[in-house]
């Protein structure tokens, strides 16, 4: 079709073909957008992921609870003196994902560890109070986390994630 023209002398026909082709491409791209965007979370799901408040008073020292936020299990541990001690004294250089305990809890609230209870290996739920490090043990592939939720042993590459949260008072936190 385009043999009649050359690159130096674009004809009106060439321009028309290019313009039509470009318009078709733009139209196709604009059509694909909603077809893909519909897969993202809908408005109701996003609204349901709003922050939640958790009352800490019922959790005794050494106990932990599991709450759900955005479909994810959140472990809230009331750590014992021993657990805090262990978490603070470990040498950072010996950790696969070095992070001091102070970076994983809120200042002045050392006894509260809040972590997302999803193993950073492949997403299983670690069991609290199990394993060799007074923390969490993932039954799927044997990852072990310490009392600060840091990876110590096993295939997981990173520490348990700390969700965004804040203390509203000494006994109440807001997650999210």
């Amino acid at each position: 079709m385009t043999t009649a023209s050359s690159a130096d002398h674009p004809t009106r026909r060439d321009f028309l073909f290019v313009a039509t082709g470009a318009a078709a491409a733009v139209g196709a791209a604009a059509t694909v957008w909603p077809l893909v965007a519909q897969m993202n979370p809908d408005a109701a799901t996003i609204a349901a992921g709003a922050p939640i408040e958790v009352d800490l008073t019922p959790i005794a020292e050494g106990q932990d609870i599991k709450v759900f936020w955005r479909g994810k299990p959140i472990y809230i541990s009331h750590r014992t003196k021993k657990q805090i001690q262990e978490a603070q004294s470990v040498a950072l250089s010996s950790l696969p994902d070095p992070q001091p305990d102070s970076a994983r809890v809120k200042a002045g609230h050392d006894q509260w560890l809040v972590v997302i209870g999803i193993c950073t290996h492949l997403g299983c739920i670690p069991i609290a109070h199990e394993g060799n490090y007074d923390g969490f043990f993932c039954p799927c592939h044997g990852s072990q986390y310490d009392s600060s939720g840091r990876i110590r042993q096993g295939p997981a590459p990173a520490n348990l994630a700390v969700p965004p949260y804040a203390f509203l008072s000494d006994t109440k936190i807001q997650i999210g």
């Binding site: 733009v26 139209g27 519909q38 897969m39 408005a43 349901a48």
Partner: protein, 690 residues
């Protein structure tokens, strides 16, 4: 025609594949080199339009199935959530729902084209019969798809259509029970219809492959009805037919977009925005417009079994068309009598469609019987007879001769195609008017609404005042269960900030739980919560309101309508008038009168309302002057209250309306520009062929 191709790709990788699986050769011989008659007119582009529609229906359908819940208790709500919450869900749903109508519209044109030009005649009988099979599958798919939203029309449509099978002697009842999976239409029915509705489009796609295969063996028919003989008679499929089809498609998309963005509910029924209720049948059960002619045939026969047989025969008879019409001349262009009878037949079909939408009484029944006889007479008497007595005009020697002969009248052809599109469009519109007979209510006066028309927007002040009226008055009895507090801060809504919406929510007590002790408790509302309903269940609502449960208002402005009458409904198509629901709600709120006029008796516990069908409404007059005070100085009158609360309820029924119209305008602008570009591209490409 499409024998083994000598096509060889030049790319070594493609060559490697081609030697093992000659797929590129197949594509090349079928869609590139394939010789297509050079005299095809635009009626032939409907094959491409239908292919696109099938692909689009499958694509949007697969997407909707990602969000839809096929359960009797959840289906209606899940459809509403698709429209309200899923990203572009309203667009996808409109595309799919209007797409079904467009698909049928295109297939009817395709079929009439085949009928007019004799495309079913030797050697294309199998091609034609495959087409009839596709049409039957489409009808089954369309019907089952209509059941899925589980509104009143879905439910009762399913009941009526499945009951057709009860006409079968001896086994009828067993067949119907088998179809239902229960003693009545219910959850098992919905589940299997969903499964089959997902399956059948792929079966259609399979038969379409056979249809195209048969087409490529026999070659395309053409307006002259003579077979292609030499190279001069044909042009290669690509670019000639491809570019012409694409132009046809882009014009069709403009028509389609008119419905998607501006008239999404025009072809639907307001009753389908009422959730399915097995205890109440809507006053008039009407199928979707594309089934109306057959519905009319069904109803004209006073015997149950005979009616069902006649209805199915009306479709099956098409399979025998190649042998009923034995005339040797294909195209009606050269058959003066057949041409006239063809147009009479088209009118008969349209009139049958109109009758199918009317109540089965009086003159409509008699007219239905006459037209049913005409329908069958066309196939069984007229066509066989014409083949014997008609003297056809001489046909051209070849397609090339035909092209030369008509090249003078090209502009006229284009104009006639445009005219035909407009006529066909308004006929489609004509077939859609529903049988909303006079039920004793006065038609509400049409009002001016800020949100009507292509640029319509909600009046923010009116929305905020309407919310106040709802909260202080309506909410005592009526729920608004599909609207969440967060929606009050959505763009295109009442224009509150997220903080204001959260504060509004916190004034409500929401039931939540169970807590750790296993008990339900109350807490302040959050933005994610929905407006709480005033009654815990329908029975409580009924008991507290003299036996009539106040309906949920989330969809009330879409679930109510009134008859617009002829020719108003046809004008509505062009003016995009969609506000029957708001007109009705507004009128009801203002239509209360203390004293019923003479001759109208209102039962105890009911109230006279001028606009309510039957005039006796269970709701006492809800609004009186001065009941709600507005901060912005708007008059505290019933007229103002009614107008504001109706505006608010229209937004509640369709919170994305402003977005729909805004995107619609962009799409329209694009499509018109694109169609122009396609037209000139097509002309340039075809300049080489003439």
């Amino acid at each position: 025609m499409s024998g083994p191709s000598d096509f060889q790709p030049s790319n070594p990788a493609l060559k490697w594949i081609e030697r093992r699986l000659p797929i590129f050769g197949l594509i090349h011989s079928s869609f590139v080199a394939y010789p297509t008659p050079r005299n095809l007119n635009y009626w032939w582009t409907f094959g491409a339009i239908l292919s696109m529609m099938l692909a689009l229906q499958i694509l949007t359908g697969v997407i909707l199935a990602m969000h839809y819940t096929p359960h009797a208790d959840l289906a209606f709500k899940s459809v509403e959530l698709i429209v309200r919450d899923v990203n572009y869900g309203w667009l996808l749903r409109n595309m799919h729902a209007c797409g079904a109508s467009m698909f049928f519209f295109a297939v009817y044109i395709h079929m009439f084209r085949g009928l007019y030009y004799g495309s079913y005649k030797e050697p294309r009988e199998v091609l034609w019969i495959l087409g009839v099979i596709i049409y039957l599958l489409m009808m089954a798919t369309g019907f089952m798809g209509y059941v899925l939203p589980w509104g009143q029309m879905s439910f009762w449509g399913a009941t009526v259509i499945t009951n057709l099978f009860s006409a079968v002697p001896y086994f009828g009842e067993s067949i119907v029970t088998l179809l239902w999976g229960g003693y009545s239409v219910g959850n098992p029915t919905l589940n299997r219809f969903f499964s089959l509705h997902y399956l059948l489009p792929f079966v259609i796609a399979g038969v379409v492959v056979l249809h195209v295969w048969a087409l490529h063996v026999a070659g395309q028919n053409n307006p002259a009805g003579v077979e292609a003989k030499t190279e001069k008679d044909t042009v290669p499929f690509t670019p000639y037919a491809t570019i012409k089809d694409m132009f046809g498609v882009s014009c069709f998309l403009i028509f389609f977009a008119w419905f998607i963005f501006y008239m999404p509910n025009y072809l639907g029924d307001a009753d389908n925005y009422i959730p399915a209720n097995p205890g109440v049948t809507p006053a008039h059960i009407v199928p979707e417009w594309y089934y109306l002619p057959f519905y009319a045939i069904l109803r004209s026969i006073p015997n149950k079994l005979a009616g069902v047989v006649a209805m199915f025969s009306a479709i099956i008879i098409l399979c025998f068309l190649p042998w009923l019409d034995s005339a040797r001349t294909r195209s009606s262009k050269y058959r003066p009598l057949a041409k006239q009878f063809f147009w009479i037949f088209v009118v008969v079909c349209i009139l049958l469609g109109y009758l199918g939408s009317q109540p089965p009484e009086g003159i409509y029944v008699i007219a239905g019987r006459i037209l049913t006889v005409c329908y069958f007479a066309y196939f069984l008497i007229v066509l066989p007879l014409l083949a014997r007595i008609e003297t056809p005009r001489p046909v051209p020697n070849s397609i090339a001769d035909d092209v030369l002969a008509k090249s003078k009248g090209r502009a006229a052809t284009a104009a006639s195609v445009m005219l035909a599109m407009v006529v066909a469009g308004s006929l489609l519109v004509g077939g859609t008017q529903n049988a909303k007979a006079d039920e004793g209510g006065t038609a509400p006066p049409a009002q001016k609404w800020s949100f009507s028309g292509p640029f319509g927007k909600f009046d923010r002040g009116s929305l905020q005042r309407g919310l106040k009226v709802y909260k202080e008055v309506c909410a005592a009895c009526h729920g608004l269960s599909y609207v969440a507090f967060r929606n009050l801060a959505d763009p295109g809504g009442p224009g509150y900030s997220p903080a204001q919406a959260a504060a509004f929510a916190s004034e409500y007590k929401i039931k939540d739980g169970p807590n750790d002790q296993g008990e339900m408790f109350e807490r302040p509302g959050r933005p994610a919560d929905y407006f709480p309903s005033p009654f815990p269940n329908e029975q409580a609502a009924r008991a507290a309101n003299g036996g009539a449960a106040p309906p949920d208002l989330s969809l009330i402005t879409k679930a109510r309508s009134y008859k617009r009458g002829f020719p108003q409904f046809a004008i509505d198509f062009f003016t995009q008038y969609q506000e029957q629901g708001p007109d009705y709600v507004d009128a009801i709120l203002q239509g209360f009168e203390d004293k019923a006029p003479a001759g109208v008796t209102i039962p105890e516990g009911s109230y006279y309302n001028k606009y309510f069908p039957g005039h006796a409404i269970k709701m006492p007059k809800p609004l009186s002057d001065g009941q709600v005070t507005f901060d912005d100085g708007s008059p505290a009158t019933v007229k103002q209250y009614a107008h504001d609360v109706t505006t608010f309820l229209m937004w509640a029924a369709e919170p994305h309306m402003e977005e729909r119209k805004r995107i619609g305008m962009q799409v329209f602008f694009f499509l018109v520009v694109f169609a122009f570009l396609m037209y000139f591209t097509k002309r340039k490409v075809w300049a080489n062929a003439h």
